[in-house]
Symmetry: C2
Subunit: 133 residues, 2 copies
DNA sequence: ATGCACCCCGTACCATACTACGGTGTCAAC
DNA sequence: GTTGACACCGTAGTATGGTACGGGGTGCAT
């Protein structure tokens, strides 16, 4: 049931070096290393790496992802601090969702304008994006 | 009403060099250049740069942002192609929104677990993230 | 007409996040 | 028991997205 680094990499669609890199950077835990020195990963390792990939695609830096993942580690210890950081991340995520919805609305508007007559604005994408922060 | 590069930069919270960089990379249009050679920007330039910043924070690469912005340029010409690309971007954005909502749900769950007794899983963040693509 | 802030350009440098390389060791199959 | 695929490590190189620097020119305020 344990996986080699190559198997984890293949299942995540990344290179072996990427996994080692994440380990060096402290994004994923050190796996067990029986005699030979070969890393042995639990199946969950695949989910961790996929989570990292996904979070990256959503605009989080590795530093932020590390913070996200670390929310679990000390949860037994400093519950209030963890809760605070989690809530900050939630706010951050809600902002991102809002911005994406604006972008989506703008693009939908664009396709609609496309369907009918020519768009009236010379930039439908920007047009639908307010100045909101 | 026209702005200097420094004014645009200040209003967007970026450096002058960043604007010139975006121009070199074709993300923003060449502004007019009266006699002196100084760039003169229309007020809208601020919105363009802000759009770029926002899109970056949402995980789009400059290449993708360029594509997003270019959807406006040829809209009069190749309407069908534009519509197709816009629809692809919409799908992409919907996926991002979905992933962010999953992350948010996971974090909310974490804060709730925090409030009451200890979390049951040893990783509440991952726990709420399915294997969905 | 002389500052001084701001603009020009090109080039070089930086941080982030990998990716490749080279030399060596391991393991499993034949 | 040897061969081939895969693992180990450290170091170096790459792509992206800026950021800084140096040596100049401009423009307006005093």
């Amino acid at each position: 049931m344990a996986l080699t680094i190559g198997q984890v990499a293949a299942q995540c669609g990344v290179g072996v070096e990427t996994i080692r890199f994440y380990e060096r950077e402290g994004l994923i835990a050190q796996p067990s290393r029986p005699e030979s020195g070969f890393r042995k990963y639990p199946p969950d390792a695949v989910r961790w790496v996929r989570f990292i990939q996904r979070a990256k695609a959503l605009g989080f830096s590795l530093r932020e992802i590390k913070e996200l993942l670390s929310l679990r580690v000390d949860s037994a210890k400093t519950c209030d601090a963890v809760k605070g950081r989690a809530e900050a991340k939630i706010t951050d995520i809600e902002k991102k969702i809002g911005h994406l919805q604006e972008m989506k609305r703008a693009l939908v508007k664009l396709t609609v304008a496309c369907r009918g007559k020519r768009p009236t604005s010379d930039c439908p994408i920007l047009e639908a994006l307010g100045e909101g922060d």
